[in-house]
Amino acid sequence: MNIRTEPITINLGPQHPSTHGVFRLRVTLDGEVIVDVEPIFGYLHRGTEKLAEERSYTQIVTLTDRMDYVSSMLNNQAYVIAVEKLAGLDVPDRGKFLRVIAGELQRIVSHLVATGFFLQDLGAFGTPLMYCFREREKILELFEMLCGARVTVSYMRPGGVFQDAPDDFWPSFRAILDSLPYFMDEIERLLEENEILLIRTKGIGILTPQSAIDNATSGPVLRASGIPWDLRKSNPYDVYGDLNFDIPIGTNGDSYDRFLVRILEIRESLRILEQCWTLIPSGPVRSKVPYFFRPPVGDCYASIESSKGELGFYLVSDGGISPYRCKVRSPSLINLTPLREMLLGWKIADLMVIFGSLDVNMGEVDR
């Protein structure tokens, strides 16, 4: 009798509970062990970059909301910084501070969502996810006060922000600054020493520092591998140069470190927000910028540290009211580059852990 085994190929996605959108992985399995992976994406392509060529510079802000839909504020920020650099616009100090406040709140939201879904992928049925979403909800209410929208905010404009924060924003903001550290303590107690979490994530999906650099990863994925690279420190934009904060870095580059880096980044964001609370000046929030304006002919690249990594906008102006070309360097797409080498040899249960720990957002991958 001739007994043999043969590898099977399965399609994880595009419709799959834990691909965070419409991502497809063609996985070849030998039993439970992954022998080959081919990531396939593009199911959520909406042509954002092409659409931007038809819109005025102010209108494009709404398009950026829909890229990484869990960190819209940061997308706004990256875009308006690029436009300001291109057109040479000034931003009042209060506008810059409000941007940083909104951006850091959005970073907290994004990391909470990432942590919650990471645990969901591990099989912790709903509980950590719901706890994280409960806190996220409070921050989304703040966004609603700022701009009337919760997710697709469109809060920032070239030259500042859309409007000053209303009076009842500040007490609620203070309440979150006071309550969120306790929630972080709670979730750390719940998760960090959980035996099952440790054996499922420690040493799983190691990304070496060299490989992280070679694959141009950025954000928590890069920092978990031990590279202290954060654009807020290395290339300060808005008011980050005046603020004190640290960069959490990991030592092993495994899934656990990526998870923990995000938890610590939430704490650092809280530190930044605390300083903004005391430092924010009064004054106008937006310089006088007309609805339609024509930047001089030329191009520019500006990038910020988004929640997922370096989010950059490359804008080319031909002197018209809309950009000639708008290219987005999205961190989620580039953080997917080392996925294959990280997955090979692990079991299919680890696949979801590793993929979840990368925290990619399909809206941003496909744009």
């Binding site: 834990s18 099989g123 054996i199 092993n252 923990l260 249960a349």
Partner: protein, 396 residues
């Protein structure tokens, strides 16, 4: 032996039939009893799904179903109605016969299990003298049914789930049976009715290790977290029942939850004195119907299942298997040897000797706990601080 159980009561009730129709009497009373018990299980299962969703929601700071009927209590019935009116889809790649067979093979054993469980004083369908063996034999069929479903669906997720099921369920059978043997040795009978009556003290005190092993093995046997690998949602979509829809899915869903209900009953019977009151003075609470005790204990265990589900992440297949063979299997052997020794020393224990057995058992259980944690400490991953703040070497 079956002096005054419900079956005989029913037979007496139909005594007006002429003696030549005694076979009819037998069939009618048997049918009524089985019908009643099966429906009690169905209703209990429906209420358990409601309870699971509500309690889980409370754990997760949500509300849970609260729209259909008072407090949403009719939600499970609305779900069942929805499921049985849905289209029944059969994938073209599926093996028609096996695909159809699997839900039935999965549901029937769960209902069979109920036959031997005494859920009240003199309330049981049959006092089988091999009751414990019957439980072991019947629960094993579930693994076969899951494999049929997974193989017959013609879906690769289902196939992966099915192969996990076979590997896991068969591994967990072994410690489960060995833990059950301890109970049988103590009570000197395999009949569950006798096991309940033999519990002068709840067997959880006399069999702490056995209970621990049996509880975890049964959790794996029921496919509940953290051992829910065969239908791991985040990995295999829905495991072996990925392709099932409509009524067939309802049956699979029913089997899964009914199994949890029945196992809660088995725990109560084997380790918590079944329908007797859980406290030591037996003559108290005589006015209290024995079935209430049974249901209270069942709800207690069901709550623990939900609690575990709300708390723990899932394990990986190799970790699950090594847990079965490296931890549960040796523990159940230790329990077996210890129980055998104690039963040989005190075949007819007095009350003091019984408490002595409790103390010895708890001591050995504690010793095992310490030894196993020491032994596993080498492989254990410690929560070392691996993430630091890069203040000094910051990339300025």
């Amino acid at each position: 032996m079956e002096s005054n159980n419900i079956f005989n009561f029913l037979k007496d009730f139909f005594n007006f039939l002429p003696p030549s129709l005694s076979w009819l009497n037998y069939i009618i009373s048997g049918f009524i009893l089985t019908f009643a018990v099966a429906n009690v299980l169905l209703i209990t299962t429906a209420l358990f799904t409601y309870m699971e969703r509500r309690v889980l929601a409370r754990f997760q700071s949500r509300l849970g179903p609260n729209r259909v009927g008072p407090f949403g209590i009719l939600q499970p019935f609305a779900d069942i109605l929805k499921l049985i009116t849905k289209e029944d889809i059969r994938p073209t790649a599926a093996d028609r016969f096996i695909f159809f067979l699997a839900p039935i093979v999965l549901v029937v054993p769960v209902f069979l299990l109920l036959a031997v469980i005494p859920f009240g004083k003199n309330m049981y369908i049959v006092n089988l003298n091999i009751g414990a063996l019957f439980i072991v034999a019947v629960t094993t069929i579930a693994a076969l049914a899951i494999f049929l479903g997974g193989w017959g669906s013609g879906n690769r997720f289902a196939l992966l789930g099915a192969s996990r099921a076979v590997a896991m369920l068969i591994s967990y059978e072994v410690p489960m049976i060995l833990a059950l043997v301890g109970v049988v040795m103590l009570s000197g009978s395999m009949s569950l009715v006798d096991i309940v009556e033999a519990q002068r003290l709840p067997f959880i005190l006399l069999q702490p290790i056995g209970f621990f092993v049996f509880f975890l093995a049964a959790t794996a046997e029921m496919n509940r977290p953290p051992f829910d690998l065969l239908e791991a949602e985040s990995e295999l979509v829905a495991g072996f029942h990925t392709e099932y829809s409509g009524t067939k899915f309802a049956l699979l869903y029913l089997a899964e939850f009914a199994e949890a209900v029945v196992f809660a009953g088995i725990f109560a019977t084997l380790f918590f004195r079944g329908w007797q009151n859980p406290f030591v003075p037996q003559d108290w609470f005589q006015f209290f119907p024995s079935i209430i005790w049974f249901f209270l204990k069942m709800i207690f265990f069901l709550f623990i299942f939900i609690w575990i589900r709300a708390t723990l992440p899932r394990l990986r297949i190799d970790q699950v298997m090594s847990f079965a063979w490296k931890v549960l299997f040796p523990l159940s052997l230790i329990n077996l040897i210890l129980t055998a020794l104690l039963v040989t020393i005190w075949p007819e224990p007095s009350t003091i000797e019984l408490w002595l057995m409790v103390i010895i058992n708890l001591a050995v259980g504690l010793l095992c706990l310490v030894l196993f944690t020491r032994f596993l400490e080498h492989n254990r991953i410690k929560p070392t601080q691996s993430v630091f703040l890069a203040t000094k070497q910051g990339g300025q």
